[in-house]
């Protein structure tokens, strides 16, 4: 995967370049660019997670057209969980700090935030692989598989929710 921060740096236009030499504005410009990179990264992660969701929707589609209702409800719940994580990923905190905040979020923290989000891609890969298996799982084993994916999503959610705590180093 490319480092989106580098791409954003490379693609700075004239206006941004002028902003970078204005005293007091430079830091603001740099931080804003990392936030934008992180935002693009999270949207990509959410799109990747959608691949897994599509696989599970495919399983639901098969069941629906066969009118096999045994696992439908559980699959529906799992898809709702996917939607919830999707929302959390896309609309997560950007890492802004207020005026004279208790804990400042500087360039270093924002870089950590980006790297933290980048590391989440591995967990998503795992979820995608597990979701792929769903298509070939027998009906009687489906519940276990659903539960496995649910647990992975749960782990993802738990870790992702702690991102600001980790990067600001305020975990107790």
């Amino acid at each position: 995967m490319v480092d989106i921060r580098e791409r954003i740096e490379e693609d700075r236009g004239v206006l941004k370049k002028i902003q970078l030499i204005i005293p007091g504005y430079e830091g603001y410009r740099r931080r804003e660019d990392i936030r934008k990179a992180d935002n693009l990264l999270r949207n990509q992660l959410a799109d990747k997670l959608k691949i897994a969701r599509n696989d599970i929707e495919g399983v639901r589609r098969n069941l629906v057209y066969k009118y096999e209702t045994r696992n439908l409800e559980k699959i529906g719940d799992l898809l709702n969980y996917f939607q919830k994580i999707d929302g959390q990923l896309r609309h997560a905190e950007h890492g802004y700090s207020g005026i004279s905040p208790a804990i400042r979020i500087e360039e270093e923290e924002l870089n950590k935030l980006y790297e933290f989000d980048y590391s989440m891609a591995k967990i998503i890969e795992g979820i995608i692989n597990e979701a792929k298996k769903m298509r070939s799982v027998k009906e009687e084993e489906m519940l276990d598989e659903i539960e496995r994916i649910r647990e992975m999503l749960g782990e993802f959610e738990k870790t992702f929710k702690m991102r600001m705590v980790y990067i600001t180093g305020t975990e107790v």
Binding site: R60, Y67, T69, L72, E73, G76, H91
Partner: protein, 384 residues
Amino acid sequence: MLFGGSKRTDATAGGKEGIIGAMTIAWDDAYKRNFIMWKVPRNIRLNDNIVVREDEIAVFYRDGKVLAYLDKPDRYALTSQNAPILGGLIRALSGVKQQAEVYYIQKKVFDGKFGSKQPYQFKDKEFGIVNLRVFGEFRYRVNEPVNFINQFVGTLNYQTSQEVEERIKEQMVLLVYDAIGHLKEKGMGVTELAPNLTNIEQIVLEKSKDHFGMYGIEINKVSGLYINLPEEVQKAVDTRASMQVLGTNYMQYQAGQAMREAAQNPSGTAGAGVGIGAGIGAGYAMIGSMAQAMQPSQTQQPSPQPQGKACIKCGVIIPADAKFCSSCGARQEKIECPNCKAPLPADAKFCSSCGTALGSKKCSNCGVDMPASAKFCPNCGKSV
């Protein structure tokens, strides 16, 4: 102003246009509510800026083609040849004015409700034809703006969420009916619909993709689905559910119900204690029949029927033709409360159910007979 002409100014533009007539356009929140889409009411000019917020998508058309599909929140500068000098010159020379338009669409989810206008006739194996009505809620959003604009706005000229919902509602009812129909073919009876409501929701949700995808609409939740059964069928379904919970057959269940009713209808003024006694008395006889029902070998032999009946007041078993109870002396005749219609012993002075005074009394002023519960004489009007 929402549908103003080209002179429309915007809060984000600070009420000013640039030197070449360009301005910053944003969808004002005040006009957003209830509108699922908005067409910027003027032709886009060179370097017009549009602001796309987190919950919006903007589609930029130039000369009828979709050039940009802007779904990331940001400020975008749009290119067009429409400018006061250049655009005017081109128009003067060629007679052609470039058409550049922007459509805004809300990305957020909207909620709607649906309900059947006509009942669905479900042919059940046990209950015959049962009329069903369905109700539910759905959440939808625009996921393919181009399809949405072409199918809804272009073809049907729908712009408000209400208009869009109207279109979705009828289709949702049909999808539920379709799901019920298929489940019936798979052997599902009317009594099994209630425990399968979430499954039906999932079926409808999945099938909605095929129906609404072409309109650029995604139904992303169906909830609160309710299938309304006729009262008598609902009663039978409830009875069956209770029987299953209790693990009894119909006879045993009925006996239990009778016991409960007897206990809930105490007779006379003796109050709850007597009522319970009556219930136990009546129930005692029924326990015997329940026990027999549970022992199939005994049911083959004719069992002796209990002789007599339970006293309506104290519940003691007395001969079937007795007019008075040999234990408490209560007259074995029932009257009906004029107020709540509860059955009462003939000599009751007050209704044990609603407390209405029973019998009649005479007016102290004019001597006319009047109901015991009357507060004023119907003849002379005197307070009694």
